[in-house]
């Protein structure tokens, strides 16, 4: 079968060592000289936890049960997404020689940024798992499905990194747009507040309120956060709609990202 997508995937698989080497390079450069390198990946979420606890609990007076675990279940997957996309978006234009001077599947470049973030994410997730019992919610049997959830999110994020890195090649200011998008997306995802708080959201202009509620409930990251919490915090199987959405978002993002990237990457060597 001479399907170009299949050929590209096969080639990506054959050159996986390049991807792994780029990942190692990223991680080693980042953690060089610090034995407790993982400490830096943990510092950000911990500081954020502290700040959001102060603001939401003591300033605003919102009380969420077991807030530290609740927050981390949403924030760690979010950091994975936001770091991946921010690092991957300029990755192709920052590595012109890998595009212009050697032949390799170009998708390796953004995907290696995603995998580097994935490694950090998995490490922080393991630490979270180890910490769970101390917060009175020892992980149940459903925690075994965690690798599957992480895999689905990695594919979803991978699609986004392809999308944004390809568009950054053609439009150099995608970065600014992305920064704004990430802030909006963060607040439209129930990471620091529970989704139940928005069920009765009243905005001055009702149609906008409906849109906001819909986005907070059904945007891809909300769905993923919902699954992470179900698995880690409640030990409950997510409902069918949530699982269906995870599958749709994952496949949709992967397909869009891959096809768009494949279409535009053929000419990267001329425009980078």
């Amino acid at each position: 079968m001479k399907c170009p997508t299949f050929q590209d995937l096969k080639e990506l698989w054959l050159r996986r060592e390049v991807l792994l080497n780029l990942v190692m390079r990223d991680l080693e450069v980042k953690y060089k000289g610090s034995v407790i390198g993982i400490f830096w990946s943990l510092l950000n979420p911990l500081m954020m936890l502290l700040i959001y606890t102060i603001v939401f609990r003591y300033v605003i007076g919102m009380n969420v049960k077991n807030f530290p675990v609740f927050f981390m279940c949403g924030f760690l997957p979010w950091i994975f997404l936001s770091n991946s996309v921010t690092m991957a978006a300029p990755s192709v234009i920052n590595n012109p020689n890998l595009v212009r001077k050697v032949y390799m599947p170009k998708s390796i470049i953004p995907l290696s940024a995603m995998v580097a973030c994935l490694v950090e994410f998995v490490m922080t997730l393991i630490i979270l798992l180890l910490a769970l019992p101390f917060f009175g919610c020892a992980p149940g049997y459903l925690a075994f499905s965690l690798p599957l959830v992480v895999l689905a999110q990695a594919i979803f994020v991978g699609g986004l990194t392809l999308l944004f890195s390809a568009s950054t090649v053609h439009f150099r200011d995608v970065k600014h747009l992305l920064d704004i998008l990430l802030i909006v997306w963060f607040w439209l995802t129930p990471i620091v507040y529970p989704v139940s708080k928005v069920a009765s959201l009243k905005l001055p202009w009702p149609p906008l309120g409906d849109i906001v509620v819909w986005l907070i409930t059904y945007n891809p990251m909300s769905v993923f956060v919902c699954v992470y919490r179900a698995v880690l915090l409640q030990n409950a199987v997510p409902d069918v709609l949530t699982i269906a959405l995870v599958v749709i978002y994952t496949l949709g993002s992967a397909a869009c990202g891959w096809l768009l990237f494949a279409r535009s990457s053929a000419r990267f060597a001329e425009v980078v």
Binding site: N21, L22, V29, N97, L98, F171
Partner: protein, 261 residues
């Protein structure tokens, strides 16, 4: 010049590279919406991108047999590098057909993927994988690569502490150890001091003896004459001469004189 390697790689001197009426154009923009902001402004103003198509290569037909060493010469901008990049699929042809049989090693620059913070040893694996050498193969050839680079204990130091000569030696040591059937080499042989250059050229000779196919871009006509079994001359994107190196080099000098005069 008959030896085992040749016979193995050259069953009746079959073509390993075939180009049929290949053309390649570059789009040169005078005005381009390089960001979304300008795209929107230009759309509102009804302005279009302005560009001109420049043909970098025009109607190239060429076949190279296994075991040949092809020298590619021509002035700057005549399309030499474009030709190599088409052969290794970095660029796509706009017209015509290209067929390359065998594993290709692309040596257009030294030290692809080098990271200044990491040791020479780690960079060997990085660079090798990009050039198509697997980790296993790289590990097997590691001693050889390190000794060729003449870096000694420096191999474990971050390469930001290297001199430019040391970087070049490391890059070349990896490149020369890549295993392939066809080598596409762009001007990277003009590196290092004279002694190191000689060492590199010896390795190229060894590749030739093993029946490898080599396409070599260089401005060093003396080297083309000495190394190549055949040469082609490109001028303004067209193939204007093809044959024995000395004849093609004479033609090149004649064209240059007539251009100057």
């Amino acid at each position: 010049m008959s030896n085992e390697g040749r016979q193995r790689n050259e069953p009746g001197g079959s073509d390993v590279i075939q180009m049929r009426s290949v053309s390649k154009k570059y789009r040169v923009y005078y005005e381009k919406s390089e960001n979304i902001k300008y795209l929107i402004i230009n759309l509102l103003k009804g302005k279009r991108d302005r560009y001109r198509d420049v043909w970098a290569l025009r109607d190239i037909t060429l076949s190279v047999k296994a075991g040949e060493t092809l020298g590619i010469i021509g002035e700057n901008g005549s399309g030499k590098s474009t030709l190599l990049k088409l052969l290794c699929r970095i660029l796509l042809a706009d017209e015509g057909h290209i067929e390359v049989n065998g594993k290709v090693a692309t040596l257009l620059e030294l030290g692809s993927g080098f990271s200044m913070e990491l040791s020479g040893r780690k960079n060997i694996f990085m660079n090798a994988s990009i050039l198509g050498l697997s980790r296993k193969e790289a590990r097997r050839r590691l001693d050889e690569i390190i000794s060729f680079s003449e870096l000694g204990d420096f191999i474990n130091a971050p390469i930001k502490s290297y001199s430019s000569g040391m970087l070049v030696r490391l890059g070349f040591a990896v490149a020369i150890n890549v295993e392939a059937d066809i080598f596409l080499i762009d001007e990277i042989l003009a590196v290092g001091d004279e002694r190191f250059q000689r060492k590199c050229l010896d390795r190229i000779r060894a590749m030739q003896r093993r029946g490898k196919t080599i396409a070599l871009v260089s401005h060093n006509l003396e080297m083309i004459q000495k190394f190549c079994s055949r040469a082609i001359l490109l001028s303004k994107g067209r193939l204007v001469a093809d044959g024995r190196p000395d004849a093609v080099i004479d033609e090149y000098r004649r064209v240059q004189r007539s251009d100057a005069g």
